[in-house]
Amino acid sequence: MESKDLITSAANTWCPGCGNFAIEHALKDVVAGLVADGTPLEKIVLVTGIGCHGKMADYLGVNSFYAIHGRTLPVATGLKLANPDLTVLACAGDGDCYGEGLEHLLFAAKRNVDVTLLVHDNRVYGLTTGQYTPTSPLGFSGRSTPQGTPEYPFNPVELMIAAGATWVGRGYSRRLSQLRELIRAAVGHRGFSFLEVFQVCATFYNQTKYYDDHVYDLEAETFPTSDPGAALDAAREWDYSRESRIPLGQFYEAIYPTLEERLAEQRAKETDPVGVMQRLMAERT
C-alpha cells in the first residue's frame, strides 16, 4: 500500500499553513510503514477528539472513531481492552485533552494501556476560534481573555512523566522527519505513549518563529531516556510560558506490563457462562 492511498476523498478544511498537515503527513507515513511491516490495515484504529485536530478521522483512510470533546482516551481504552490485537492511536487537542478530558489523560498514563496519544498542541482552541487553553502562556490574549490569561500554563510533558506514562516525547510540526520517527517510536512502544506535538496554528496563535528560534533536539543517542530524573529535568527546561530553549525528542521510556496484559492474566479461561450461572443458582438453593 502506498501512503497516498491512506488519504480519503473528504475535502480538507484546515487553514493554509496549519501544522496539522504535517502531522497528517507523518501519521500516514507511519501507518503505511506499519502495514508494509505486516500489520493488517484493519488492525489499526484512530480515535480523535473534537477540534481542528479531530478532522484527522475524516482524512485518514483507516478505522476511526471520531469521538466527543475530551474523550479520546476512554474510547481508545475500550477499543484496546475489547481487542488487544488492535494498534490504537489517538489524536487529541490541547483543549480537548488537557482541559475537557484531563482526568482521562492521567488515568491512561496510570493504567499503562497500550495506546499512542498524539496531542496536537497549538496552545489555543482552534475550532472555537481562539480561546486560551491549559498550555497557553501567562498573559495570552484570546477571545475569552482579552486582557490576558491570569493563569500559568501547565507543562504536559512534566505532568505525564509524573503520572507514569511509560513513553514520553515532544515533536514539532515543522520538524517532519523527527516527528515521523517519534510517532514510529511511540507506536512501537508497548504501553501508554504520550507524544506532545507543537502544532502551528496559522490563524489564532502562530508561534512558528518562536519555536524555530528556541527548539533543539535531545540527542537520542546520548540522552538517558530510561532516567525519570533526567526526563523531568529536561521537561522542566521550558515551562510553556517564560522564554528559554525548548527540547524536542524522546524524553522517557520504561517497560512495564500493560493494562490489557494484566487483565489477560486475571481472565478465567472458562467460556461457558450458562454453566457458571447454573452452578451459582444451585449454590443458592
Binding site: 484493519e42 478505522n63 474523550r71 481492552l81 475489547a82 481487542n83 478465567a268
Partner: protein, 552 residues
C-alpha cells in the same frame, strides 16, 4: 399455607445484610417463596440497618406492616420496630446489647467470647436462636450455613449458631412450602445474570448505590468466566469505554444511578449518533442531587426517556422483580445490538437490593437467535448504509478488509462528516426508522403485563418494583393490574389492549409528578386517579391496599 415475616435489625457493620441472605436461604430451603426488603442508611458504621424476610406458599413482592418475629442485635431494633410486631409475635434478642425487651434473650456476647469467635458472628448466633424458636430442623440450618459461609469462617460461625440454638426453646414450627427450593437473588444479581445471558463481554461501572452490587457481583463472576470487568475513573469514562468496546464488537454494559447517569448523557447521545449498542442499568434513588442515597423512587422515567441532546431511538425497560430483571436485562442487551441503540434497564433501589425467589433457568433461550450480517460489501464498507428499516449491517473495527468509520458528527453512509441538508435529513430519518423497527420487534414480547380482572371496570397501572405491591394489594379486588414493562418505545397497541373495557384507570408510582401518567397522556391514555409516594420507602401490602381503597 401461612405467611411468615421475620425482621432482623442491628447497627450498620453488624452483618444484617449477610444474616438476611441466610434467612432468605433458610426460607427457600423450606420450600417457601421469599421476598426480602433491606433498609439501611448511607453510612458504614453505627446507623440502624434492618431487613425483613417475608415468605409464603405463593409469590410475594413486598413486606407487610406486621412481622411475626423481630431479631434484635441492638436496642434500637426493639424500640423502632416493636410496634410492628404481630399479635402473638416474639422478639428474639441479644441480652448483651438489648437491655429493655420482652421475649427470648440469648447472651451472644458470652457465646462469642467463650467460643473465641469473631464478634461479627453474633448475627449468625441470632439467626441460630431464631431457627430453634421457629422450629427449623437442625439439618436445614447446618446445610444452609455450610453453603452461605466461606470455609475459612464456617467453623466459628457454626459453633456460635449451635450454642445459640441450644440456648433457646422451640415455640412453633414454620410450615414447609409447596415448592422445590428456589434460589433467592437480589434484583442486582438477576440483572447481572440477565446481562450475561444477553452475551455480555464487558461490564464497566463506577460505584454508586443502588447498582454497585452489580459491579461487585460481576467482578466475582469474572473470576470464573471470560467476562472483563472494569472500574474506571468516572461515569464519563465508564460509558465511553463501553462505546469503544462496542465499536470493536464487544457487548458492554454499564450501571449507575441518577447522578452517574447525568454524567453519561453526553455519551448516551454519542451512542445515538454513532449507532453504538450499549446497555445501561439505571438504578433509581431519590434526588435531587445526592438525595437519599440508599432509598428508592421512580423519578427517572422521563429523564431516561429524554436524556441526551438530539433525537434518537432508545429502549427503556422497567422490570418489576428478579425474574423480569433477568429476562429484560438479557433482552435489553440483545435489542441494543440488533438495533444499534442504547438500551436502559430502569430499576430502582427496592428491586436492585431486594431479594426475590427466582424461577428462571439460565439454559432457556430468551432472545431471538442472532442474525448473521451476511455478505457485507467492504470495498468500501458503509458503516451507516441507509436501509429500509434503518439498521445498517454492522462490522466491528478490526474486521478483515473493512475500514470502519464511527462518527459523532452527522455523517454520510461511509461515516465521513457532512453538513449538507439532504444527507442530514436522510441520516436522521434512517436512525429514527430503527426506533420504529425496534417497536415492531418488541411486539413479539409481552411488553405490557396484565394481571387478573378480565371483567374489571377499574385498572391499576404501575411500573417497576411498585407493581409487586399493587398485585398483592389488588388480590381479591375487582381490578385489573397493568404493568408496562417496556416504556420506550411506548407499546401503544399492547397498552390499548390492556386497558380495553376499563372505565377508569388509577396510576400508582413512586414519584410526585406522575411520570408514567404523563407518558400515558402523550399516547392518548388518561388516568382517573393516582397514588404517589416519594418518601424513599416502598409500599407495604397494607399501605398499598389503604391507598388503593381511597381511589378504586
Amino acid at each position: 399455607m401461612q405467611e411468615f415475616s421475620v425482621l432482623i435489625g442491628g447497627r450498620a457493620g453488624e452483618g444484617i445484610n449477610k444474616a438476611s441472605a441466610i434467612l432468605n436461604h433458610l426460607m427457600a430451603r423450606l420450600g417457601r417463596y421469599v421476598y426480602m426488603y433491606y433498609d439501611y442508611p448511607s453510612l458504614i458504621r453505627g446507623g440502624h440497618n434492618f431487613a425483613v424476610v417475608r415468605s409464603a406458599g405463593r409469590p410475594v413482592w413486598t413486606h407487610r406492616d406486621r412481622v411475626d418475629v423481630i431479631l434484635a442485635l441492638d436496642q434500637k431494633t426493639v424500640d423502632q420496630h416493636l410496634s410492628e410486631l404481630a399479635e402473638g409475635g416474639v422478639v428474639v434478642y441479644d441480652t448483651s446489647a438489648v437491655k429493655q425487651a420482652e421475649g427470648i434473650g440469648v447472651d451472644l456476647d458470652a457465646i462469642v467470647r467463650e467460643e473465641k469467635a469473631p464478634v461479627i458472628t453474633r448475627n449468625s448466633g441470632l439467626v441460630g436462636a431464631f431457627c430453634r424458636v421457629a422450629g427449623i430442623p437442625w439439618e436445614v440450618v447446618d446445610g444452609v450455613f455450610r453453603e452461605e459461609v466461606p470455609p475459612k469462617y464456617l467453623d466459628a460461625n457454626l459453633r456460635v449458631v449451635r450454642r445459640a440454638w441450644d440456648a433457646v426453646e422451640e415455640r412453633g414450627r414454620i410450615e414447609r412450602g409447596p415448592m422445590k427450593p428456589l434460589p433467592v437473588l437480589t434484583g442486582n444479581e438477576a440483572i447481572a445474570l440477565g446481562l450475561v445471558k444477553g452475551g455480555l463481554d464487558a461490564y464497566i461501572a463506577y460505584p454508586m448505590t443502588p447498582t454497585s452490587n452489580i459491579l461487585h457481583f460481576l467482578a466475582g463472576f469474572a473470576g470464573s468466566s471470560a467476562l472483563t470487568v472494569v472500574h474506571p475513573e468516572s461515569e464519563i469514562a465508564v460509558i465511553l469505554m463501553a462505546l469503544g468496546a462496542a465499536a470493536a464488537g464487544k457487548r458492554a454494559a454499564v450501571g449507575t444511578s441518577g447522578g452517574g447517569f447525568c454524567l453519561m448523557t453526553e455519551a448516551l447521545s454519542l451512542a445515538g449518533q454513532a449507532e453504538l449498542p450499549v446497555a445501561i442499568v439505571l438504578g433509581q434513588r431519590p434526588g435531587p442531587s445526592t438525595g437519599l442515597p440508599t432509598y428508592s423512587c421512580q423519578t427517572e422515567l422521563l429523564f431516561a426517556r429524554h436524556a441526551g441532546q438530539g433525537e434518537f431511538p432508545r429502549l427503556v425497560v422497567a422490570p418489576a422483580d428478579a425474574d423480569e430483571a433477568y429476562l429484560w436485562s438479557a433482552r435489553a442487551l440483545d435489542l441494543a445490538w440488533r438495533f444499534q441503540v442504547p438500551a436502559i434497564v430502569l430499576a430502582d433501589k427496592t428491586l436492585c437490593e431486594g431479594g426475590y425467589s427466582c424461577s428462571f433457568d439460565p439454559a432457556t433461550e430468551v432472545v431471538a437467535p442472532p442474525e448473521p450480517p451476511g455478505d457485507v460489501p467492504r470495498d468500501p464498507y458503509l458503516r451507516y448504509r441507509v436501509t429500509a428499516n434503518g439498521v445498517s449491517p454492522m462490522l466491528s473495527i478490526g474486521t478483515p478488509g473493512a475500514v470502519v468509520k464511527v462518527n459523532s458528527y452527522e455523517h454520510d453512509e461511509a461515516g465521513i462528516t457532512i453538513e449538507d441538508p439532504e444527507t442530514t435529513v436522510a441520516m436522521q430519518e434512517k436512525r429514527l426508522r430503527k426506533g420504529a423497527a425496534l417497536a415492531e420487534a418488541l411486539a413479539a414480547y409481552e411488553t405490557v403485563a396484565v394481571y387478573g380482572g378480565t371483567d374489571a371496570r377499574v385498572g391499576v397501572v404501575s411500573w417497576g418494583s411498585t407493581v409487586g405491591a399493587v398485585r398483592e394489594a389488588a388480590a381479591g379486588l375487582p381490578v385489573r393490574v397493568i404493568q408496562p414493562i417496556v416504556l420506550e418505545p411506548f407499546p401503544v397497541e399492547a397498552f390499548r389492549r390492556a386497558v380495553d373495557g376499563l372505565d377508569r384507570v388509577v396510576v400508582v408510582e413512586e414519584n410526585q409528578t406522575g411520570q408514567l401518567e404523563q407518558l400515558m397522556r402523550v399516547h392518548g391514555f388518561s388516568a382517573g386517579a393516582r397514588v404517589h409516594r416519594f418518601d424513599g420507602r416502598p409500599f407495604t401490602v397494607e399501605e398499598m391496599a389503604a391507598r388503593l381503597a381511597e381511589v378504586v
